[in-house]
Symmetry: C2
Subunit: 555 residues, 2 copies
């Protein structure tokens, strides 16, 4: 009945990890499906698995190889993990980009930052308006989330409707942006939904989510109880929270200043797109200096402990004349993303050491999640009544838990992690293929694979340091070592002179034994030097450092 055509779903990022969201849908004959992409976000590397890397982006190679079949890119909302990579990847995927007004404005800044034109970004109206994209018709269904104009996508295909939830919660009274509207969702789901591809972020949170409207009150109370300066941090992109915090500050009779470039950038866009009309009054930083500490509230960047953020600098001592002292208070009004605990704790500990009262979001009334919690996810399943639930946006443990949850409640469900191609047109949807994909690392001005040897070498050098040896040749072709240097290798003798001397002599004598070298000399020397370095270093420092061999040549 599908006349040999199939409907496929392929996450290229965002499943099996948080961040770098990129989802592909395709319709057509096997290997000739017409394709659309949903979201194009960045991920955040951790220093252990990807040291020195700036950001992670989805690997778009699979799509670039099928450019002739790619119809368009749709961006659900303006969070970095959904829109952040569009500027990097659009040059390879030069197709139209569709997004709602606020999201489109943010998307364009991603092009600007890389000096490209954002003319490919098209603003669209929300549901019930549809955009045609090959065999697909796509509508942006407003949902509640911690940023303006977040949308789920209603994707009509030749074999039925797909609902791609995007990021959402069930907030009926958000302080900004559209409220959760069960009727709208039920209506949109309306006719038979083939598949619900659904946010899994908070599947492990047993309590239903709270409304953003409940945050300002408790924060105002907290500010009232604090005698000194009050500082609070959250995600810059969480415009709703910025508003809640500012409102709380004003309620508590304080002047409110916003500190940090990324916050001013997003507020600028929100203002331009008309989302800041009833935003509380903000005082410029210059004025803030002259306001007594107990009358001032700072809203600052760095909720995830980012190294150069304002919260980090305040914890070290001073940011542009502002410092925190005993009696002051600091509120983390954001969830700590898994993997950032260390850096966030480091800031909390430095502030605590200074005598600053630190307040956390976890289990507090000072934070409301932007994502649907377990009971909310169940409610979404009920509203959409899909033939199958496909969990997305989470680590594998979240996807698995969400799939089990759906199954236990009588829905078909399918575990699909990044790189898995699912055929969702057949009666029993299943994974039919695997794509060799993964995230790419933006490292300085280059892009490298996450398992690239460059990353491997860095991790090894971080473990054991490195020893470099310069090799020269006698006239008869016998190699000898003319210099050795250490880095990241401890040595009992501070100058580490002794170890380098020993190494130089041992390498030379071992090479001398080998005599003149001809073909394959590079491999032979590499092998010999490595062996000598490892045996000598093992004895001297108990480790086997990385080895660099410099084969010297005259001019």
């Amino acid at each position: 009945m599908n006349s040999g055509n199939r409907l496929i779903y392929l996450p290229l990022g965002g499943c099996g990890m948080f961040g770098a969201n990129m989802y592909v849908y395709g319709w057509g004959g096997e290997g000739s499906e017409r394709l659309i992409v949903v979201d194009c976000g960045i991920g955040f590397p951790d220093a252990e698995s990807a040291p020195g890397v700036d950001v992670l982006i989805p690997d778009s190679a699979w799509l670039a190889d099928r450019l002739d079949r790619l119809e368009a890119i749709f961006i659900t909302h303006a969070h970095e993990d959904h829109v952040g990579a569009i500027g990097h990847l659009h040059p390879e995927l030069p197709v139209p980009v569709f997004a709602r007004r606020f999201t489109a404005a943010v998307a364009r800044t991603k092009f600007d930052q890389l000096g490209c034109k954002g003319s490919a970004v098209h603003e669209v109206n929300p549901w019930p308006e549809f955009i045609e994209a090959g065999p697909f018709r796509v509508a942006f269904l407003p949902v509640a989330h911690s940023i303006p104009e977040a949308a789920a996508l209603v994707i009509d295909t030749p074999v039925g409707r797909i609902v791609h939830s995007g990021d959402l919660n069930l907030d009926r009274t958000p302080v900004l942006g559209e409220a959760h509207d069960p009727e709208r969702i039920r209506q949109a789901a309306g006719r038979e939904v083939v598949a619900l591809v659904c946010d899994s972020t908070n599947v492990f949170n047993p309590q239903a989510g709270r409304s953003e409207a409940t945050v300002a009150g408790p924060v105002a109370g907290l500010i009232d109880r604090s005698t000194g300066m009050f500082a609070a941090t959250t995600f810059a992109s969480n415009v709703g929270r910025l508003k809640s915090l500012a409102t709380a500050g004003i309620q508590a009779g304080r002047s409110v200043a916003v500190v940090g470039r990324s916050m001013h950038r997003i507020l600028g866009i929100a203002r331009d797109t008309g989302f800041l009309e009833d935003f509380p009054e903000i005082v410029p930083l210059e004025e803030a200096r002259y306001i007594p500490r107990n009358k001032l509230m700072l809203i600052v960047t760095g909720s995830q402990g980012e190294r150069r953020s304002v919260s980090s600098q305040l914890s070290w001592g001073n940011y542009r004349g502002f410092d925190l002292e005993p009696g002051d208070s600091f509120l983390f009004s954001a969830r700590t993303i898994p993997g950032n605990e260390k850096s966030v704790n480091a800031i909390k500990n430095r502030l605590s050491a200074r005598g600053v009262a630190v307040h956390s979001a976890e289990g507090s009334p000072y934070h409301a999640s932007g994502h649907a919690c377990r009971p909310d996810i169940e409610e979404i399943h009920e509203l959409v009544q899909p033939e199958i639930v496909i969990p997305m946006h989470g680590e594998n443990q979240h996807l698995r838990e969400h799939a089990n949850l759906a199954r236990d409640r009588g829905f078909k469900s399918l575990f699909v992690s990044s790189g898995m191609v699912a055929d969702i047109s057949s009666a029993d949807p299943r994974v039919v293929d695997h794509v060799d994909t993964g995230v790419l690392c933006l490292d300085g001005s280059t892009r490298i694979g996450r398992r690239n040897e460059v990353i491997r070498d860095r991790r090894k050098m971080a473990e054991s340091g490195v020893i470099a040896a310069a090799i020269e040749f006698d006239l008869d072709g016998t190699a000898w070592c003319s210099g050795v240097s250490l880095k990241g290798v401890p040595s009992r003798d501070r100058s580490s002179g002794s170890l380098t001397e020993t190494l130089r002599k041992r390498i030379s004598s071992t090479l001398a034994e080998r005599g003149p070298l001809d073909e394959e000399q590079d491999e032979v020397i590499e092998r010999i030097v490595t062996r000598v370095v490892h045996s000598t270093a093992s004895r001297s420092v108990g480790k086997k450092p990385e080895v660099m061999v410099l084969l010297t040549s005259d001019e």
Copy 2:
């Protein structure tokens, strides 16, 4: 009244961080106090701040410089973070070591592992027996904790009694070891207590702790509901939990096997010291192979995601013939120590991807903490009724929170982090001095400071990689570059030949411009090479790698 004498308290580790516990008490004239040490534990480095480091140990330099004034070392209990460093530090601190029987047995293994004699370790009986140590009299007061024979210390000084809580909870029905006995504590506190130095680990846990006796039941239920193999992990040293888990397995009608060297080591010691009489029957691994999956339970190492642990190897696929498949279950029956979230999640995600049902400890009935929670801490304050509460065993945020808690409930309290010297003999105890201390890194066979340049260099190389250049000299003393090599530096050209060649030429030409060099040539060359490498690499890869200069010499 103190005739110029004072009572000091100085944490050298364990405050401001978790791990590396070491606390000093002293009595005498300023600068001539007689000293005792409580605990001597290791800490666990994180790959980001201390890459490649095996373990952290307290810096005992301050004590070593005052060896003539050091009376003895007392070990409260046998957890690694309290006893693990005794073998490493005793050679520098050759004084008697006192501990209860089980703890002493573990302490001796620390000497054995380093090939030294553990003859300095003396077994002592618990309270009310006291050990004389200079001006101090010390008794081991049995407390409940997740290891046998844990003790608080009752320390009598010329100006009154100190209670050093050690690690403890209020478990009245532990499955192993002594129960919490409020009467015993009240009695020991008996006469006026000058200071309570108290465990802060769980000050952020609002719920009172649960008894270890409540764990086996729910775990047995979980095993009953699981159709395939059941594996569980916890800390090897948590003998009580090992017993709870094994009991649950037997209750659920399964054969139980224990997998992992560290678990067998601790069970051996527990057996030798008579703590395993009523321990459930364990089957050897060889037999376990022939037991049907749904009749088998494995208790394995790796609750913190340790890289080579059994749980990690199982998540990758296979450990000595055992593998986990869809339908199997895996239980983490231990709290994840802050900083280990990444590695623990990695294991959970790999298991989830395999279709294994993963169960976590957080907020579950499958775990009971070994540490006093907030209400328990309050109860301890009430039992001891000290003049002052001094929080210990926690990061600065925990110490601060605990100090505020005590103050809010009417007790004097003092924030003392590692390196702070507190005078607790005066009417108003306060920090009077700071000791330049910190943890040391055991790296291979060497010891280095945490802020040592070796660590700094490794972190920088992890960030940006390294470029090494070999420098030779013409007869006239002009330097030139005879070879260049990269590591951890991406290069558009896979072989990275181009960049190295460019660098070699640029360095040589820049050195040639400089002409013959004489004095300070090393510094000059270092400076020039670094400048050329940074400018060239910035253009080519957008980063400034670390630089190694090899000044070559004819043998």
